[in-house]
């Protein structure tokens, strides 16, 4: 199929076509207020406030650190959020003084100079407890250069539409030849059986996004694998191999229940991210729920898991 591209560009275009700059009038769409916040009940509500850029002018991110950021709870003004940027942060954030609570609607209004933007109301979704989780199998070998961990998790989906995504990692350690230390190796990917979650969507950075279509209000078991491309052979001692790959490893999972607003954003961003390099892919518009601006304001609830490997 990729021959089309080669053929069209090399043959027809090569013979006749000519190229010139396409001058686009897209400046009017830039310079908007960008509000981003994925808030959860385990930390204070925070949001980054920045400015959008022209895709033709890829400058550094411009923060609106002097903006006035007002937080509303159930449409009632709650407080003005405070800007803070730690030395490690690329982008600072505006912080509230409290953790968001279940069942409450939150929104933000931002004023920066003459510009104003506001978020929609959103709330923290119900937490979904994980009933059971286990690692069932590990495969590895010298010739394949891969290690594959098979796992199950079971949870009970609450009634009503629910949306989820989760990260899953096995921190496999291997020798960094330059430093001489054993370090976490993270070139790994997550796979879920399509029978388990027909509507799932592989997300970026080893995450999986899905909804409860087909199991609304029911218990659900998900089986998956995490595969790492590593070189166990670098660990010369076989016992140490087993020790590092099995005994010193755990499966770490972050299980996020996300709001409808959050799901729309994650879903569209995942598609935009994963297909950006394919010029033949259909365009994706990333969801935004900011009025007069861009970004996402969505609640979520996170369940962390650490699964010991019993092998």
């Amino acid at each position: 199929m990729s021959l089309n591209k080669i053929l069209i560009f090399s043959l027809i275009f090569g013979f006749f076509s000519c190229e010139k700059e396409l001058v686009l009038d897209i400046d009017g769409a830039n310079d908007q207020i960008v509000i981003n916040s994925l808030f959860n009940p385990d930390e204070v509500l925070s949001a980054s406030v920045t400015k959008s850029m022209s895709p033709l002018n890829p400058n550094l991110i411009e923060e609106l650190s002097t903006a006035e950021v007002k937080l509303y709870e159930n449409n009632v003004f709650k407080e003005i959020m405070t800007y803070y940027k730690s030395p490690d942060d690329v982008v600072g954030k505006f912080y509230s003084t409290f953790n968001p609570e279940l069942g409450e609607n939150y929104s933000i209004k931002v004023k920066s100079g003459e510009k104003e933007a506001s978020t929609v109301n959103d709330m923290v979704p119900v937490n979904t407890p994980i009933n059971s989780s286990a690692v069932n199998w590990i495969e590895w070998g010298d010739s394949t250069n891969i290690i594959r961990y098979l796992f199950d998790i079971t949870f009970v989906d609450p009634p009503g539409a629910s949306y989820y995504y989760f990260n899953a990692f096995f921190p496999v350690y291997e020798l960094n030849e330059s430093s001489g230390n054993y370090e976490f190796f993270a070139n790994q990917y997550l796979e879920i059986g399509t029978n388990d979650l027909p509507n799932h969507q592989l997300y970026i950075n080893n995450s999986l996004l899905f909804n409860d279509e087909g199991f609304n209000g029911e218990a659900k078991q998900i089986s998956g694998t995490v595969t790492t491309f590593t070189q166990p052979s670098l660990i010369s001692d076989e016992n140490e191999q087993v020790d590092r790959i099995i005994n010193k490893s755990k499966l770490y999972i972050q299980f996020h229940s996300v709001s409808d607003e959050g799901y729309k954003f994650h879903s569209s961003y995942a598609k935009e991210f994963s297909t950006a390099v394919d010029i033949y892919s259909e365009p994706t518009v990333v969801y935004s729920n900011i009025e007069n601006g861009l970004g996402i304001f969505a609640g979520e609830n996170i369940t962390p898991l650490e699964i010991e490997i019993v092998y």
Binding site: M1, L3, N4, I8, I12, F16, S17, C18, E19, E21, L22, I26, A29, V34, L38, N40, D42, E43, S46, S48, T50, K51, S52, S54, P55, N57, P58, I61, V90, V91, K93, Y165, F169, P171, N176, F184, A186, N187, Y203, N205, N206, Q254, S268, Y269, K271, E272, S274, I279, Y280, S281, E282, P283, T284, V285, Y287, G295, I296, I302, P304, E306
Partner: protein, 892 residues
Amino acid sequence: MSKTFALIALLIVSPFCFSQINQSLEQEITISLNDISLRDAFKLLEQKGVSIAYNNFDELDKNININYTKKTIRYILNDLTKKNGLKFKLIGNIITIYKKKEVKNTIISGYVFDAESGEAMIGCRLFEETSRNGIHTNQFGFFSLALKTLTPDCKLEISYVGYETRTINFACRDTSFEIHLERKKDNLTTVIVTAKKDKIESTGMGNINLTSREIKAIPAIGGETDLLKAITLLPGIKQGVDGSSGFYVRGGGADQNLILLDGVPIYNPYHLWGFLSSFNSDAINDIEINKGAFPARYGGRLSSVLDITMRDGNMKKWEKNLTLGLLSAKLSFNGPLIKDKSSIMLTIRRTYADLIIVPINSLVNRGEGFKRNEGYNFTDLNFKFNYILSKKDRLYASVFLSGDKYYLNQSEELKNGGVDLKNTLKRKQGWGNKIGALRWNHLFGNQLFVNTTGYISAYNYYTDEYGKSIGSDGISTIEKESSIDYSSDVIDWAIKQDYQYYPTRKHTIRFGLSWIYHTFKPGVNGFLSKTGTETIQNNISNPTIYASELSAYIEDDFELTKRIQLNLGVHTSAFLLKNTTYKSIQPRAGVNFKISEKVALKFGYADMTQYLHLLTSSGISQSSDLWVPVTDNVKPQNSRQFSIGTAVNFNKEYQLEVEGYYKKMNNLIDYKNGASFLNTATNWEDKIEVGKGESYGAEIFIKKIKGKLTGWLGYTLAWSNRTFKEINFGETYPYRYDRRHDISLLANYKLSEKWSLNGSWVFYTGNAVTLPTSNYITPQYTSEVFQTSNFPTPTSFNYLYSSAGIIQSANSRNNYRLPAYHRLDLTATHTKKKSWGKWEMTFGVTNLYNRLNPSFYFIRSTVDPTTEKATVKYYQRTLFPIMPTFSYSISF
């Protein structure tokens, strides 16, 4: 003064006279009319105070025997005339006896042929003057006309644009004709685009005809006359981007056009990745495109029907033609096998790009240890045979083949240190159509015409890539092989019967039925990877789908009153899959209200269903696009279209048509957000969304059809939108080819017998495309989120939202308009007649003022090495900058 006085006196007196005669008629009398002639009976009645006038009819000498007792004179006159085939009426104060005219039912039928070639003439107008009835020949040149004649003699007038009008006087009785029309000698008068039927009289809306001669007069890129490019100059029909295949009618998709070649559907009639159509203009007799009120005989697509009729072949003499263009050469010949009984037509076309490019390419790309052989060619062939079995039977056999083939063979030998490496690469890509059809025309009596067709239509696309690498260090050898294949096939076997019945002068009834057996193989992938002794073979295949499509229709084109003509019909169809059957009933209606001899109002309604989808990416329509049928999950597309319009004939030279339309489409398919046709691992059904579309607009078409200067101006004002639940978050967005304004201007000027000039100019609003308008950052979790989860800190990896990413965002699907497209093409044609035949040379310029219209656009990012500042710019590719066109043709 005296005359005026007399007139006034008469006006005053006449009402009294009229009143007096009426009193006399109501007078009751008793009279015996025994054994006397009718003439004498009237004389006796005159004695009662009335004046009776009559001619010398034979009936007056008939003897009568009748007595009337106390009957009014009116009653007696009425009785006497009625019994003897006469009538009477009061003219002034005189009773006038006249003869009732005898209405005679007559049926005339036959065929109309070109006198020079003997080929059937389509859409020829026949008009019988005494009865004031007319009809047009069908696509086989046949007509049947039921007349009610009052006179013993009839007069039939046969006319066709560009031909001498012929009049035939004949005795009014059932007659079968074989009429030959002579071409007009006045070559300086050309006639262009016409409707088969007079738009003022017919119910047809949105239908336009072009003949082969007219298509050839339209300037073409590279001098290569092209039917499918020519029709995009008509209002309501849009081309895609330059270099893409397909055309778009009234907001519909490229798959919604039914292209029929002699009644057989073709799936992808394009060469050179859409650059050219695979129809050779030398093989074409006539085309008709319908885009609005579809008659019930058409079905299977939502937006248009392009009905192409191939030439039958000259029945009188042999004709040969050779044309050389910049892109290809074509040869055609046709002539009689048995004079006036059987003929054949054959055209062959082949590009010679590969014959020139391959040797050059091989020379340029040849180095030490390196060989590259790359080429491309296309070929098409049309063949038609027809045989007149009898006056009522005719047999046709036709074949159409088209094929495109690209190939690349490359090998290189490298030495790297002590290692010898040999790489081989082979690529192939191709597509083509194969059609074979048999048709039999039969006439039952002289009112029922039947056409029976059996055909096979096949479309195939394939692409293969094979690579082999051999490495040797003198001790051991490592071989790696890989190959990937992809192919897509559609095969249709079909049989159909179409009936045309002409029961009375007011009705033309068409009915028919068809059965198509479809086989779809929508994309088969094979993958082979071999390293040493290890082989990985993987075949990913969408399942082959078998389906039957049945359809039946009936339509009646009839005259309701002298001013109102109706075409009412219904098309029904069913699509039978293994587990599912889809059915549809599609009513159709066309109304023509003739306001005057020059102005008509028209209304149309068409309900259409389509069981096939073309899975095409939003980028461009290509030969590799998949034709897929409806399935258990993917429902048939359907549409409803309303149209209203007017047709005006200003005089013999100018015509105007204005039409407005509204079309609603359901069950359209499109790729999901982010889906890619490159991803062949996923079944096509999992990559699509189902949604709906809406389009509406107005079209103006002004034509100058006669004179030295002919041509047309078309303007379309249109909107076309799509709504898909999962695309653009369910919000309606403009269709890629939503073009607000579309103007086309075509002019042909006949300078002399030898020279003619042709020009075309098009302008349309730029396509809607999705472009990112902003860059902004993603959300970012605080480190607390990861610390809470005890996640290990990676050295080479970021968790989702552990740092801010950049989103390149468009605010909606198809949010940006590319610059407007416009282009001027000019050609001049020089024709010279010779004793052996004629030659014709056409030369000109495509895109005269070098407008750089974008065919594709892309982003390029560069970094200034000194400032290290990145700049990003959009660039466009223009496929057709200013280019020469040339073709040379000889006919003998």
